[in-house]
């Protein structure tokens, strides 16, 4: 290989390496940002119904001081925007796929509670799945779907 080609390869390799590093850094930045982001649901009720005496609605009240909570009227007569985030931002590691699959991302509990609070305020109940379940995890596909379903209440893009 001539000198030029070798230099080009080294540079290309370095470029790719730098790109990988840049990507990793931006992924870390995003994970940190995500940890601080508010999770929000819009509830089809007035702000005074959502936080009657300034107290967070059930089951968000169970988090005590661990959560920051805000409410504001939603535009266009759509009710109330209820937002919550952990005071102690979740570590970027907890947002990794394995930790989320294991149900160890603390934000899963917050998302679930936000959804439940919304459903309780709008309908008076949280719809439960059928019991006992009839779907089985005895195939690979079935196992994956079963795991995804167990986490689905706390996952998603709130």
């Amino acid at each position: 290989m001539n000198q030029l080609a070798r230099t080009a390869l080294v540079l290309a390799g370095a470029g790719a390496g730098a790109a990988v590093l840049r990507k990793a850094a931006s992924a870390r930045r995003r994970a940190r940002e995500d940890g601080e982001r508010w999770m929000v649901v819009t509830i089809n009720r007035a702000p005074t119904d959502v936080m009657p005496h300034g107290d967070p609605p059930s089951p968000l009240d169970e988090f005590g001081d661990a959560l920051e909570i805000t409410v504001r009227p939603a535009p266009g007569d759509r009710g109330t925007e209820l937002a919550a985030r952990l005071r102690e931002p979740a570590s970027p590691a907890s947002a990794s796929l394995p930790s989320r699959l294991a149900g160890k991302d603390p934000r899963q509990g917050v998302r679930r509670a936000l959804r439940e609070a919304k459903s309780l305020l709008e309908t008076g109940e949280v719809m439960l799945p059928d019991a006992p379940p009839t779907g089985r995890g005895d195939t690979v596909g079935g196992k994956v779907v079963g795991l995804a379903s167990r986490r689905a209440g706390g996952e998603g893009v709130l």
Binding site: T42, N44, R78, G79, R115, K118, S119, E122, T123, G124, E125, V126, M127, L128, P129, D130, A131, P132, P133, T134, G135, R136, G137, D138, T139, G141, G142, V145, G146, A148, S149, R151, A152, G153, G154, E155, G156, V157
Partner: protein
């Protein structure tokens, strides 16, 4: 009790499962009288809709008798004969309040899966995968119905079970296509697909005053049925150039409203079919949009294309340029049944909409796997197989 379970791609069997129970105060339990196949089930059976588990009970279009009510149920009593909307709506979120019931915020018990697929989750539906809640389906002896005050409707006296059955899903779906597609008196409407959904979209267009309604399919029994019971004209796409035929029948303009009621497993006669089918089977595209492409192509300038057929993900070679340059309105939706079912039951009672003819094959639940085989392969003129427990 017995129930028809999905056991894997193209594998169905009747299994013994525990009876359902009331889980929430606003639930009822219904004893099935009749439950029917829907084209949407074929997408599940064929493995094109993901998120199914072996043992999942399928079926979502049904009529039954109330046998138990939760303490929060106001509008139903034990003994009521009810037709139940395939989509479950809570009745009180912003979407339900604005009559977009299939977008309900509170009935998909697996929101994370739906959000991963579509950005935002849709409402729950009976027997239609864990992405849509993993709720047990209706091909069984009993089924639990959540938010029953909003999703179960008493069947008027004088409407028999078989006629009421289709008010659960196919009639409101078809009606919605014509309604949200904006069909109005004087319009020319073209409908792709002469299954139950396409036929009902065509009938809705007739009742909304369309001057001509033209339906497209290839199956002779379905084309004949559409002419007899729906009062629409037909085109066999295997023997005719559909675009040219539509141009000729519409004075060179093209249809005002095009309703697609075929879905992601569309068939076609051109060489493009092999390309689409190969890509579909290799999962390089998740859906085959043959009929949607044709509808976009045929639609008049400034017209509307409404997609009723179910699509799950991404399609290839979509003629976006036609949408922009012809100034088309392109819409789609899963059915907002609660918005239409009471009105449709009245129309069925008044004889304005014929539905019982769709039930070409009625059989015991024990033979449901066989029924799906007939329905899927359109054997013996099957349009809908209907199961009684």
């Amino acid at each position: 009790m017995r129930a028809l379970c999905w056991e894997g791609v193209n594998k169905l069997s009747v299994e013994q499962i525990p009876e359902p129970e009331i889980r929430n105060d606003q639930d009822i339990v219904v004893r099935l009288l009749l439950s029917t196949t829907c084209g949407s089930d074929l997408h599940i059976i064929g493995g094109y809709i993901p998120a199914m588990q072996p043992g999942d009970v399928i079926g979502h279009e049904f009529v039954g008798e109330v046998v138990e009510t939760g303490s929060g149920v106001r509008r139903h009593r034990v003994g009521d004969r009810v037709v139940v909307c395939s989509f479950i709506g809570c009745g009180r979120c912003w979407y339900c309040r604005n009559d977009m019931w299939s977008l309900c915020d509170n009935t998909n018990t697996n929101p994370g899966i739906g959000q991963a697929l579509f950005g935002y989750e849709t409402a729950g539906i009976f027997g239609y995968s864990h992405a849509m809640g993993g709720i047990r389906g209706s091909h069984a002896e009993y089924v639990r119905v959540p938010f029953a005050d909003y999703g179960a409707f008493s069947v008027p006296e004088g409407v028999d079970d078989l006629s009421a059955l289709f008010a659960s899903d196919s009639v409101p779906t078809g009606w919605m296509g014509a309604d949200l597609g904006g069909v109005k008196p004087g319009d020319v409407v073209a409908v792709w697909g002469c299954g139950a959904v396409g036929q009902m979209a065509a009938r809705a267009s007739v009742l909304k005053g369309a001057e001509r309604v033209i339906c497209i399919d290839r199956i002779p029994e379905r084309l004949a049925m559409t002419e007899t019971y729906i009062g629409a004209e037909t085109i066999d796409y295997t023997s005719t150039d559909v675009a040219a035929e539509l141009r000729e029948r519409t004075g060179g303009r093209g249809p005002d409203v095009c309703i697609e009621a075929v879905g992601m497993e569309a068939h076609s006669s051109g060489p493009g079919y092999l390309y689409d089918q190969a890509k579909h089977q290799l999962r390089l595209q998740t859906d085959r949009p043959t009929a949607v492409r044709q509808a976009v192509h045929a639609c008049r300038k400034g017209g509307t294309v409404f997609v009723l057929g179910v699509f799950a993900g991404a399609v290839d070679k979509f003629p976006l340029g036609m949408v922009v340059n012809k100034g088309l309105t392109l819409r789609g939706a899963q059915m907002h049944g609660q918005r239409y079912i009471p009105m449709l039951l009245e129309r069925i009672a008044a004889g304005e909409i014929s539905t019982a003819h769709l039930a070409t094959h009625t059989m015991s639940l024990d033979r449901a796997a066989k029924g799906y085989d007939m329905f899927k392969h359109k054997k013996d003129g099957c349009v809908r197989a209907v199961f009684h427990p």
